[in-house]
Amino acid sequence: MKKALMVIIAALALPTQSLAADSQLYRPKVQNNGLDEIKGTDVQRGMFGAGYASTLTTSNDIQPGLLISGRYFAGEKWYLLGEVQLGSYSTTAIIQDGVEVRGDSEDALRFGAGAGLSLLQGNASTSGITAVPWVLAAELAVGEQYSGDTSGRYTSLGMSLQFHGERVWTALGTRQFLITDERLERLNSDGGIQWDISLGLWF
């Protein structure tokens, strides 16, 4: 009986002993020499801006739009690109076999994401005293475009010429695009070119 009691007491004491041993383990706190307490420098993570875009789709008129774009720096040459464009798609109706296949006031909403690569980087100056850095970048974007009641995959490849001021930046862009929308393919309106001008801030 006494033996059994001893075994039970020993069994109950085991987890406690284990916890006690665990709490005695030396776990030093990682030191960072107070670096976290030093006031950090402002960080520029990317560019955010808005602009005017002019789109010329095949078999269609030039259409205006609002382009909102963001670029997140991924290195010295690369950046990630995100953009949303809202604009007019059609101002002329197309009727085929008595059916309206394109309305006379269709809007287009497009969003895309992709990457940009700085091909050339340099300095622009007219006075020789002040200089503005510029970047010529190639940009690839993939996304979706919604126009009328249909939508399709949007793919674009273009160039962007950016002038980087201290507080603001401005960019001129041009691109070639393709849309895999069956309705637009039937209208032969599934591709085109676009040019845009944007102004923005750093964030």
Binding site: F73, E76, K77, L80, H164
Partner: protein
């Protein structure tokens, strides 16, 4: 020549030589640091400062620091700021520490089956986990999948090209006329997913990868899809 006159001449010459040597040493010790117009080595140097010039940091972009002496501004790489003697050492270490890329990666991918994907890869305890959303072509035959799993490095081709495998569980969805995942109906389906990738570290924060993926539906059909993807990753 008299000995006294000879000593005098020798002393004069020695003083002159010492003066010249001291001047040369002083000018050689004067190091100049070039500051660039933009945050990359391709941007030209717009002005130079001596290592003793008082410079103040304005902002940081990646591994580059915009500094000013209150008259001019220019960019310098964080690896070079130790050359500026006026720069506080603790601030310098803070900047170098902050410029280190993190373990979390954001990924954008394009695949051979006309799909695009967004992923996040991060360290959770000792495992590297990923979560991805992939979307196929738009329309009635559209499809998409959500996927999560574990990824690990298993080799390297060169120092900057690493090989990884990944394995996970997915959830596939499709449009009304789509037969991408299921032939009989359009109900969502669970997927088993895996892949192998080669990732090239292009820049400090940026990686490009090529990945081969396989996904299998976990139902009676066991529909299998094999794709190749080009992926872009940033480390944050």
């Amino acid at each position: 020549m008299q000995p006294r006159r000879l000593i005098k001449t020798l002393l004069t010459l020695s003083s002159l030589l010492l003066a010249i040597m001291t001047t040369n040493t002083a000018s050689a010790a004067q190091n100049y640091i070039g500051l660039r117009s933009g945050p990359a080595p391709a941007f030209p140097i717009v002005f130079e400062v001596t290592e003793f010039r008082e410079l103040r940091p304005v902002s940081r972009r990646g591994s580059w620091l915009l500094v000013t002496d209150e008259r001019n501004r220019g960019w310098i790489h964080v690896d070079d700021i130790h050359k500026i003697r006026s720069f506080p050492r603790d601030e310098m270490w803070k900047l170098i520490n902050d410029a280190r890329p993190g373990d979390t990666r954001l990924e954008f991918g394009l695949s051979s089956d006309e799909a695009y994907s967004f992923s996040i890869i991060g360290q959770v305890f000792s495992e590297k986990l990923y979560a991805a959303y992939t979307r196929g072509p738009e329309g009635r035959t559209s499809w998409s999948k959500l996927e999560a799993g574990v990824t690990r490095e298993f080799g390297e081709i060169q120092d900057d090209i690493r090989l990884h495998w990944r394995a996970g569980l997915g959830y596939g969805m499709e449009g009304t006329d789509s037969t991408h995942w299921r032939l009989a109906d359009d109900e969502p389906v669970w997927l088993g997913a895996g892949g192998v990738e080669a990732v090239w570290q292009v820049e400090r924060y940026f990686e490009i990868g090529l990945r081969g993926d396989v996904s299998v539906t976990l139902d009676a059909d066991t529909t299998t899809h094999t794709t190749a993807s080009l992926v872009w990753r940033i480390r944050i």
